[in-house]
Structure formats: C-alpha cells, structure tokens
Symmetry: C2
Subunit: 351 residues, 2 copies
C-alpha cells in the first residue's frame, strides 16, 4: 500500500500513481533510453550491453539522456532483464540483434538447484548508479527501478534466449510443476533482491516487467506465475512506493496481473485504457498505451492518437482508475525519430 | 451461408461446422503436415518449400501423410501463405529457419501499383493437387483449402519477411491509409482467386489465416483490415462451404474476426472456447484450442487438458456455438512427437 502523502507528491508520476492530483499529466516511454537516441548509440558504440549495465557512471548517463532531451516525468534505470542473473553468476551474454543468450539453458533439477542466489554486493554498481541519477533529477522527476518478473526470467533461462513459442518453458511448467515452482521461487528471490538494492538506494517507484506473460492463458498464469509475482511485489511493499506491472499482449491477464499486488497496471495498445480499467477494477492507476509504431505515422496521426489516449485515460479514471501515466504500449522502437518523442511529450503536457 | 444439407454431411468436420450432428468429434491440427513427421522431413530433404508447394503430386503426398498417420478428420492443403504471391510473380523465397523473404519489400505507391494479379493458371498445380487429394480421402474426411488473409500477406510484403513489431506495415496503414486500402484490395483479389481455384477443384471448406492480425487493436482491425477480409469471405460465399477464420493472440478480435463472414472461428489457447463463443455470439462454430506446447507435457497432462477442451467445447455449444472442431491453438511445433499427435486424435474420438 502506497503512503497517503505520496498523493501530494511534487512528482507528477507519483501523484498519478497514487490517486493524487499531478501538477501535469505525467509521461515517460518504455525503452526511452536506447537506440532511438544518437547520444546513446555514440556512447554504446564501443561498449557491450552488459558491460554498460554494470558501469554506474554510464548507467547514470544513459538513464538521464532521454530525461534531458524529452523532458519526460520519469527516468527509468537503464538495465536489462538479465542483469540480476548475470550478477548472480549465470553464464549469459546479450548478443546484438538477438538478445540474451544463456550458455547452458536450465532444463533439469540439477540445473535449477545450481542456479545461484543474488548477493546485493554483486549489483553494487546499480546501487551506485541510482545514487548518481537521483543527484541529477529535479524534484518533479521520478526515478523508476527496473526488474524482470520471474516468468520472463524463467523463459530466458529455460529457452536459452528469446523465443516465439516458449515450448521448453511451458514443457517444464506443465510436466514438472514442482521443479517449475522451485525455479520460480528462486527467481523471485533474485528479483526481490535486485529491487531491494534499487529501493534501498532511493528509487521512487519500480516497474516489474513480465514481458512475455501474454503467452499464457489466465488459468496457467494463475497457477504457475501469479503466486511468484505476488510474492515479489509483497516483499517490497514495505518501501511504500508505487509498483508498476507490465506485459505485452496481456489483454486476458490485466486483472490477474493487477491483482498480484500492482499499484499501476501497464497496458499495451490492444486494449483501450478505459476498458483496461474496467477489467482491472477500481483502485489502480493505468499506464500506456500508444502503439509505438504510431510514432512513424506523421504529426497529424500522432496528435489525434495521443488525444484519443488522453481521453481514454480520463475515461479510465471515470471507470475507477486512480490515475493515468502516459506511455507507449511497448518499448520505443530503435528507428523512432527522437524529435517525434520530444514533441509527443510536449503535446501530452499541453493537453 | 452454408447449405442446409451440410448439416447432415457424412464428414464430421462439415457437420460440426454447420450445426449438424457429427458422427464423431472432429479433430485436425494446424500444420499437421510438416516437420513433426519423419516422412515429411524425408520427402522434403532435397526439395525447397516453394518448389514443393507447386508440385501437385508432392502436395498431395504431404497433405495426406498426417491423414494416413493420425486418422484426423480433415486434410488441409499443404501450402504456404506466400504461395499465391509467388504464383502472381512476386520475387520471394522461403528461407529455412527464417520464413518468407521478399526481395523488394513494398513501401511506395509505385510498389503497390506494380503488385501483379494472380492468374488462376499460375496455380494450376494447386488445382491439380486438390483433385489428387480428393481421390485419396474417404467420404468421412474433409479437405480444407488454405489461404492467408490480406493483412498477413501485407505484413510479409511490406516488412520483407517475418516481424515482431510490424512497424513498416503499421506505418503505411496509419500514415498512408489510401495506399494501404489499395494494397489490401489487391491482396484481397489475389486471396479470392487463390481460394476460388481450390473451391472450383472441390475443397470442402476453407481456412483463411490472418495469423498476425492479433497485433492490431479492435479499432484498427475494423478500420484497416475487416473490410478486406469481409470481401474475401463474401466473394466465396457462393460456394456454400464452411469458412474457417483464424489468427494468433486474437482474444480482443474474436467477435470482429467472426463477423467478417466466418462460419467457424479459430481460437488460440489464451481464451477458453466457451468464453470465445460468448464473445463471438451465437451461430458460429468454434475451432481449437490446445496449447501446442502441451504436447510436450506427457500423457497425463495432455489427457486432462484434452478433456478440459472437450468440456469447454461443449460449454461453447451451450453458449450458442453451433459446433466444436478440436484443434491446437496454433500450429504443431516441429519437435512434437508424432505418436503423441496420433494418441491425441484417438482420445478426442473416444471422448
């Protein structure tokens, strides 16, 4: 439960997330720090992704680039879903054009038993980065912590990399449910530890990404995933900061995902925000949901769609949501013109 | 509208699709002809995919392999979504491990204007294959014709191949709606011609695959896609055969997809069949929806899930569906054990 005084936060994102009255309509973009920005491409030109995620000064710089450029209302810690796994000692790399590649995918009970725990000291650079970022933000800007949820972490570890079918992941889930729950429990521990490091360092909110949960039916989500995501969110409740929860293609899962303990539910572009608010029920904020491909459609289409989403956000509030945080429905695509993002922020703030 | 006598068809699939009483519960599997079968891998070892799709004897053999092996209630014409585009003269290939690759992606008005029409003679081998297959089927077995819907065809042509984001496709859709509708109209013409060739040759049903429509919101589907899919299905209505319509991740789109003129709506595993029937409304059959990854979960889990889906199918009929055709929620995965498929068919028929 978020503290009452958060409602009157000077940070529009925190006010919107907690049922307060934000001083302006808060907006940020998933993957706002990244390849859409020339300054990001320049700074990453000779540095690997994982190396960058463990360099506090670099994490701070990359996190701040879009905040300086676009005047968004939140920074999100620059990281990757597999960072806590790497820090724990899992042999993996992030391969350009592919994504995470795990050297020895987890398939057996021995593999699960051998999964290391995360020691906070192994992500000391992340803690340090949070401190540096907080020193650069204004009082109106929020810093959002970042972590992957257990299911999405499990899918990378079991498949060995990105997947379209999640067949090995689901095979373990369906055929070996005890082993599955053991793995998910260990991953929940890692996620909790990774979020605590960020929360102890002072992040103002967290976003838990269950990016690939949308591959599951409601029944499977409830049986195999929800208990572990719920534990993650419960174990950080004591920090009393807004907990944002997001996945792609989760139209069927919006209510169960919100009910694992999220304060804000992220919505992709497939479900209008007001419909999302009805599915979730009252008392949560909604975040989203411009289709990132719309940013290629030219200023007139973008303006009309941004206006529609702002209206949908207001309808969501009428339907019981406590607030609306403007965002895309998924991450910024690398080919996006950064000036278009800047103008979109200006428009959201003007409306 | 399907003819009344179809209800009493000796083919269980046709009876289930048309509100009749099938002599047994019909079952087939999307991508039942394919890499899960050793006899398929053997016959394709030294032949390219596209080459195979234009060889009538080979199409017949590959189409019949799973029918002989599994005793499914339907054959589906072995083909690929891009076959009619290739036949029309589009320079493309199917690359193993990647999928369709289009030599010159369609991006401009000139590209759209240059898109060739499909001449029935260019798919004469497909017509011939249908005749050969019909000669091998029993009176109880149905042959389902195959085509991709305009949106999915457009996505391949515009992206140049498979995509996770469809950013170029949506950019044209949003930014150049007139050009988009012109392209979709031309693709609808190609799809209609390809289906007519199959229908003239005697297929008993057709399945229109809009595999990637699930990337769209309802509003965008209705504006940019539905009119063209509706025209395709309307233009083949005169054949009075069941028209099955399917896409992946289409929970939000089940009603609009059914209402473009489908007699049977294919459902993936994310939405239970009875819930799908409620979304669609009465008067259509439902097809689906075992998660294909469940086939890796061992006999006990498979049996319990097959039984659940049969129950969901019965509840769908209680909710207004005219019938249930058992299928997977997406295609058979290549690593699937074919014996598991055979036993699944036996179980469905026994229940």
């Amino acid at each position: 439960m978020v503290v009452a005084e958060a409602k009157t936060s000077s940070k529009p994102l925190i006010a919107a997330a907690t049922g307060g009255t934000p001083s302006r309509r808060p907006v940020w973009f998933m993957r706002q720090a990244g390849r859409s920005l020339p300054e990001y491409r320049a700074i990453r030109a000779d540095r690997g992704m994982l190396e960058s995620c463990f360099d506090a000064a670099l994490v701070c710089e990359i996190t701040m680039q879009p905040v300086r450029r676009h005047d968004v209302d939140a920074a999100i810690l620059f990281s990757d879903i597999v960072v806590p796994l790497k820090a724990a000692g899992v042999d993996l790399d992030i391969v350009a054009g592919t994504g995470p590649v795990v050297a020895r995918p987890i398939r057996t009970a021995d593999d699960v038993a051998a999964l290391p725990r995360l020691d906070a000291a192994a992500v000391g650079s992340v803690s340090q980065a949070v401190g540096l970022i907080l020193g650069e933000l204004t009082d109106a800007q929020a810093l959002i912590g970042f972590a992957g949820a257990p299911f999405t972490l499990a899918s990378y570890l079991i498949e060995g990399g990105p997947s379209r079918t999640y067949e090995n992941t689901k095979a373990m889930m369906y055929a070996r449910p005890e082993l599955w729950h053991q793995l998910m429990a260990q991953l929940a521990d890692i996620t909790v530890e990774f979020l605590r490091v960020q929360l102890d360092a002072g992040v103002h909110a967290v976003q838990l990404f269950d990016s690939w949960a949308g591959t599951l039916s409601v029944a499977d989500y409830q049986t195999y995933v929800a208990p572990h995501s719920a534990r993650v969110l419960a174990e950080i409740a004591e920090y009393k900061v807004p907990r944002i929860h997001f996945g792609v293609g989760t139209g069927e899962l919006l209510a169960p995902m919100a009910h694992v303990g999220a304060d804000v539910i992220g919505v992709d572009w497939r479900v209008p925000l007001d419909e999302a608010a009805r599915r979730v029920g009252p008392g949560k904020a909604v975040q989203g949901n411009l289709d990132p491909t719309l940013l290629f459609a030219g200023p007139e289409v973008i303006e009309s769609q941004v206006r529609r989403i702002v209206r949908d956000g207001e309808k969501a509030i009428d339907a019981g949501a406590v607030g609306h945080i403007f965002n895309l429905g998924h991450g910024v695509l690398p080919a996006t013109d950064p000036d278009v993002l800047t103008r979109t922020v200006e428009l959201v703030h003007r409306l």
